[in-house]
Point group: D2
Chain length 351, copies 4
C-alpha cells in the first residue's frame, strides 16, 4: 500500500525530513533477514545523486552521509526495521525570506499553502527535492535484496533538452556525465545545457530504466499490476509528468499485428510489452520511461501572486540547477527497485 | 492502499469475477452515508461501456444488469458497504477449448500460467476485460459522491488509429460514436476502423480525461501524490501502456520559462501542470491522457507457444473488437473518479 | 491491514450485507492458487452457525445457501478473488417499525445513528449478527488453505451462564450441543438456558479456541504480533468484550518463575504463553479465549430513549436467542483461521 | 492498517531501533497541520517511562532524550511527517555474550531465531522493551492532537502482584509511585515488590485506562471496531496477555438485563459497555484493562535449550526490574491515544 510518506506494501520505505531542519531519514521495513548491507553500500548510491561539476547541476558543499541506526547486525539485515538518517548540513534558512511570501510558479508553494494552511517555506520544506535522497537510500536496500535474486536495474538519460541519445552502452551510463547511454551525446547535451544556463532558463528530458532478471510471474493482476505500481512509483517523483512502459505512447499508433510480441520457443521475439503482460512480468526486460519537466526555478522574472493574493514579479536569485537530470536518474532507479522488491515479496507470499 | 483486487485507501472498490462463471461483482466500501444512489444511476454508467453497433466493437447480446445488494436504504447510502453483482449471461466455455493450450500473444495467458501454475482459460478468466464492468459500477458510486462536491469528469478519445481529434465539444463526447470530442472526426475514424477490421487487425489510441471542480489541496505529497495515484489508476486498466498529466511528455521538451504556469490574481494563465503541483491539486482542471494499445486478439495467424513449450501458429477465430476504444473510455473515467473520491476523503480526514 | 469491511493484509476477506436486503456476501482475496474448494466445503461451516433446536437459539427457517461466484475452477482456487453470495430469505422489514424510533440498550442503534446521521433500522441493518455468516464463509476458505499446511483449529464453549466446562473432548465439541467440550456439562447448561429463557433474560459465556500445527515463526514483531492480530480478530465480533492468550488474565497473578514456560529438548513443558512468545508463534498450540456478553435483546422492559431524545420503555417483542453461544463459536473460529492464514502469507513473503 | 513496524491507518507511527545500536526512533505520519508540538512535550511523556527509584524498576543511567528531526515549524506541526530520534546510551554489547547461545524462557529469543534464522542477541535486539520508548514518543503527538478535540486519557495500575487497588484518584496516579490510583495501596505494593525482588522473582498486574471526551461515533463497524483496534493496540505491547473493555470478562457472567446499560435522557446510567457499542464510541468514557504478565527475566535458574538444541540451566545475571509495571503504564496509554487519533481521522474522513 502507499500511504503518503510510506511506499510499498511488504517492502516498505517510510521517509521524513525537510530541506532545512536537523536532518532527513527513513525506515525500510520488511526487508528479509540475511541480506548483506553496510553504510558504504547505501552511500555509493547516494553519491550518484550528489551534484557534480557539470553543466546541469550547481556545485555545492553538499555531502550527504548516511548513518544506519538499526536493523543490521554484523553486516546482515536482521528482519528488524532499518532506520537510517542523513543529517542536514549547510542549511541557511535566512536565504529564503522572500519565498515566505510569494508562490514560485511550477513549485508546490501555492498548493502546500492551500492544503495545510501553514507552510515551512525554507527551501521548499517537505516539497524540496532533498526528500529524494531518502528514496535513494531505501532503493539501495532494495538493490541489495534484489541482487540476491539476480534482478538488477540500469537507468540512463534518453533525452535531454530535446536531444535524444542512442542506447549504445546503457550499462556504462553511470560512469558518464548525465548518465548518458552513448558517449557521443555528452558534448551535445553540454552545449545545450550551457546555453540554457546562460539564458537563465532550464531543461527537461526523458529517463529510461531497464530491469533485468525479473522472473515471469511478478505483479498482481487488476489494481496492483506491476506496471501500474511502477507508474505510481515514477510519477511520485516531483518532476515527472508522464510514464510509459515498453512501446508506451508509441503503441497507441501501432496495429495489433505489429504491436503483439510473438512468442518463440526461446522467448519473445520483440519487447513492445516492456516485459509486462496483463500486469504480470513475462520474463523479458522491464522497460520504463519517465518524462521529466524542466526545473521550475529559473533566473528570469516570473509572474505570480503572494500570500495576500497580490500579483508580483518574482525573480528567484542564486545559482540553480539547469535540469533535474542527471540527479533524478538514481532516484527513478531507486523507485523502480523499491517497487520490484515489494512485488517480489507479494508474489512470494502466495507462491 | 491498493491491494490486488481492492482499489483505494478510504473510498475502496473490491472486485471479483471472471468472464465465465456465475457472475461478477464487487463492494464499494467507505462511501459516506447520505449519498443518493440507485441501480439506475449505476446502470447508466454501465450502459456507456456496452458494445454498440459501430465499427470498433462487436454487437453482442451482452446486457449487463447491475443489482445493488446492500448499503443503500431508501435511495441513500447508509455508510455500510455497497455490494453489487452483475450476473454473467451467454457464457459458453466450450468456445475456448483451443485457448486452453496455446498462449495468445499480447494477452496475459502466458504470465497467468507462469504466476499461478494453473489457469482458468475460459475467455481469459480474470484477465478478461469483463472485469472492468465492476470498475465502471464502482466509478458510478464515486461519481455520485463527487457530484455533491461539484467535481465531475469528462472523458473522450483524443486519438484513434493515429488520427487525432480536436477537442471541440468534450462535454458532448458521450453522445457521439467513439466518445469523439469533435463530430467531424467520426467519419475518419470509422473509415480507419472499417479498413482495419477487413484486414483482420486492430488499433490503439489515446484517451483524455478532464476533471473539473477539483478544489486546491487534494493529493498527499511524496508517494501518494494525486498524479501518482491517478497514474496507477489508469495504468491498472489492461490495455494502457502510458500515462501523462498536463503537458506530459511534451513538458520534457520545453524550457522552464515556457513550461511554468504563471499565477495571476484570477488564477493560472495556462495549464501545463495539468492541475497538479507537487502532487497536490491546484484548483485548475486536472488533465490526464492514457495510451491504449491495439487489442491483441486479431484475425491473423500469430506465432506463439503452447503449454508444452512447443511453437505453434495461432489463429484466433470469431469476430473481435477492432479497438479497446471506445469501450475503455468509461472505464478510464471510472478509475479517475474512484481516485478522486479516495483523495477527497484522505484530504478531509486531516482538514 | 484491516479496513472497516476488509480483514487481513494478504489473505483478505471483504464483506457486505444487512439483515434485510437482497443478500449478503463477500470476497476472499489473496488465497493462493491450487487450494481445493467447493460450495459444499463452505456450506458445511455455515451449517455450524445455523440456529438449531436447542435452548440457546430460536428455530427459524433460516437456511443460508452459499454460492461461489468466481475464483474457483474445477474445484481449485485460481488465485483470482473468490466472490461468494448468500441470498437473504424471509426478510420482513415491516416487523421492525417500532425499532425505527427507539434505540435498543446494548445494541448499536444509538451509535450508528450518531455516526451516520441516518440508519437502516431493519433488523439492526449492518450491525446485525447476520453479517457474521460472511466471516464463517471466509473462514472456510482459510481453513482449506491452512489444512494444506496441517494447521487446524477447534473451538468450544468454556463457560456458559457462569457454569464452566472441563476440557475433556474438545475435538468432539462440534458434535455436541453448545459446542460443549465435555458431554456432562450439556444438561447443566440446558437447565440454565431454559430458566433464563423463561425469565425473559439472556446469558453470556467464554469461548476457547485451540490452533494446532502452527509452526514456530508466524507473527510479526511489534505492532503486528500474532496475538495482537488475533485479539483484534476476536474483538471485532459483536458480542466479544474481552480476549486473552494462554494464561491470559491469570498470568497477571503469577510470578515469573511460575509463569515462564521452561524449554526442554522435546519442547516446552507447559503453555502459559498460549503458543506465542514476543508476538511470534513458538510451535506450541495457540490458545485463545473470548468473553461473550449476554445478548442485549431480552423480553423485559428496558429504559431507553427514542430518536427525539425522549425517555421510553422498550419491550422487544418476539422470540430471541438466549445466548450468542453457540452460534458465535464458528464465527470466532473463522476469525482465528483468517488471521492465521494472513500471518502465514506474511511470514512466507519474507521467508 | 497495521504493518509490522507501522501502527495506524491515517495517524501512523513507524518505529525502528534495537536496545544496542546507534539509536532508536520513528516517524509520525498523518498528524494534521497546526498542532502545537515541541520536544519538551514529547520528553515529558518519555520521562514517565524512565526507570525511577522504586521497588519495581532498576535505577539505570538511562536518560532518553528525544530529538525532533522534521515536521514541526515554529512549534506547530506542518502536515509533513514528524521524524524523531532517541540516541542509545550506555550500550554494552559485551554483557550479553551468554545470551548469544541460550534462549531465555518467556522471552522472544527462541521465536526470533525460528523466524529470522539469525538474531541480534544483544539485549534482546528488536524484541527489547526499549522499543516501547518510540511508542511513548508517538503517543505524545497523538495526545497533543487529541487535546485539541478535548479527548484525554488516564492510565493507572489496577492490580500488582495480586493486590488490587481501588480507583480513588485516577487523575493523580501519574504523580504517585507505580501509577497507583489510591495512595493507600502504594505501601502494600512496595512490600510485595520488595519481597519478590529478594526472592529473585517477578510480578505481573493489571493496568486500566480511561479515555474521556470521546464523542459518540468514533470507530468503524465490522472489522475496524473501536474496541477491536484498541485490543490490538494493547496486545501489541510485549508483556500483555489479555485485554478487556468495560465489564470485559465479567460481562460473560452477567444476564442481559443486568449487563445492558439503560439509556436515559441525560445519558447512560451505567457503563458495562466501556463506552463502545457495536464497535462505535457511545460518548461515555472508554474503559480498558490489560493483563500484564510477570517479567520473564528472573534471578533464578531456569531450564531451557541453547541454539544447538541442548538442554541447559540458565541463570540470568544482573539486576532486573521486578515488574513491567509501572514502566508499561505510559506505553499502554500511548497505544490507546494513537488508536484514538487514528479512529478520529478515519471518522472525520467520511463525516
Amino acid at each position: 500500500m502507499t500511504s503518503n510518506n510510506t511506499f510499498g506494501r511488504l517492502f516498505q520505505l517510510t521517509t521524513y525530513g525537510e530541506s532545512h531542519g536537523p536532518g532527513i531519514g527513513g525506515v525500510v521495513d520488511g526487508c528479509p533477514a540475511g541480506v548483506t548491507l553496510t553504510e558504504s553500500v547505501i552511500q555509493a548510491e547516494l553519491d550518484q545523486r550528489k551534484p557534480s561539476a557539470n553543466e546541469a547541476s550547481t556545485p555545492r558543499a553538499e555531502t550527504d552521509r548516511v548513518q544506519i541506526q538499526s536493523g543490521v547486525f554484523e553486516e546482515q539485515t536482521t528482519g528488524a526495521p532499518i532506520g537510517f538518517s542523513i543529517p542536514n548540513q549547510d542549511s541557511r534558512p535566512q536565504d529564503y525570506s522572500e519565498l515566505k511570501k510569494s508562490y514560485r510558479p511550477g513549485h508546490a508553494d501555492y498548493t502546500y499553502a492551500a492544503k495545510y494552511g501553514l507552510r515551512d517555506h525554507r527551501g521548499g520544506g517537505r516539497s524540496s527535492a532533498r526528500e529524494t535522497a531518502c528514496r535513494v537510500a531505501g532503493g539501495a536496500v532494495a538493490k541489495q535484496f534484489l541482487a540476491e535474486k539476480e534482478i538488477s536495474a540500469v537507468a540512463y538519460t534518453r533525452k535531454l533538452g530535446g536531444i535524444e541519445a542512442e542506447v549504445i552502452s546503457p550499462d556504462r551510463a553511470a560512469e558518464l556525465p548525465y548518465f548518458a547511454p552513448d558517449p557521443s551525446v555528452v558534448q551535445l547535451w553540454e552545449k545545450k545545457l550551457s546555453a540554457t544556463r546562460k539564458a537563465g532558463d532550464s531543461l527537461g528530458g526523458i529517463v529510461e530504466i531497464q530491469v533485468r532478471g525479473v522472473p515471469a510471474g511478478l505483479g498482481e493482476p487488476v489494481f496492483d499490476k506491476l506496471d501500474a505500481r511502477l507508474s505510481q512509483a515514477l510519477m511520485s517523483v516531483g518532476a515527472v509528468k508522464g510514464v510509459e512502459v515498453g512501446a508506451g505512447f508509441e503503441a497507441a499508433e501501432l496495429t495489433g499485428s505489429r504491436n503483439n510480441d510473438p512468442i518463440l520457443k526461446k522467448g519473445f521475439s520483440q519487447n513492445n510489452a516492456g516485459g509486462v503482460l496483463g500486469g504480470i512480468s513475462s520474463g523479458q526486460t522491464v522497460v520504463l520511461r519517465a518524462a521529466v519537466k524542466p526545473i521550475p526555478s529559473i533566473n528570469k522574472p516570473q509572474r505570480t501572486v503572494n500570500n495576500r493574493g497580490q500579483e508580483v514579479t518574482l525573480q528567484v536569485e542564486g545559482r540553480h540547477d539547469v535540469s533535474a537530470i542527471p540527479r533524478i536518474v538514481p532516484v527513478l532507479k531507486a523507485m523502480t527497485l523499491l517497487t520490484l522488491a515489494d512485488m517480489w515479496l507479494l508474489h512470494q507470499s502466495r507462491a
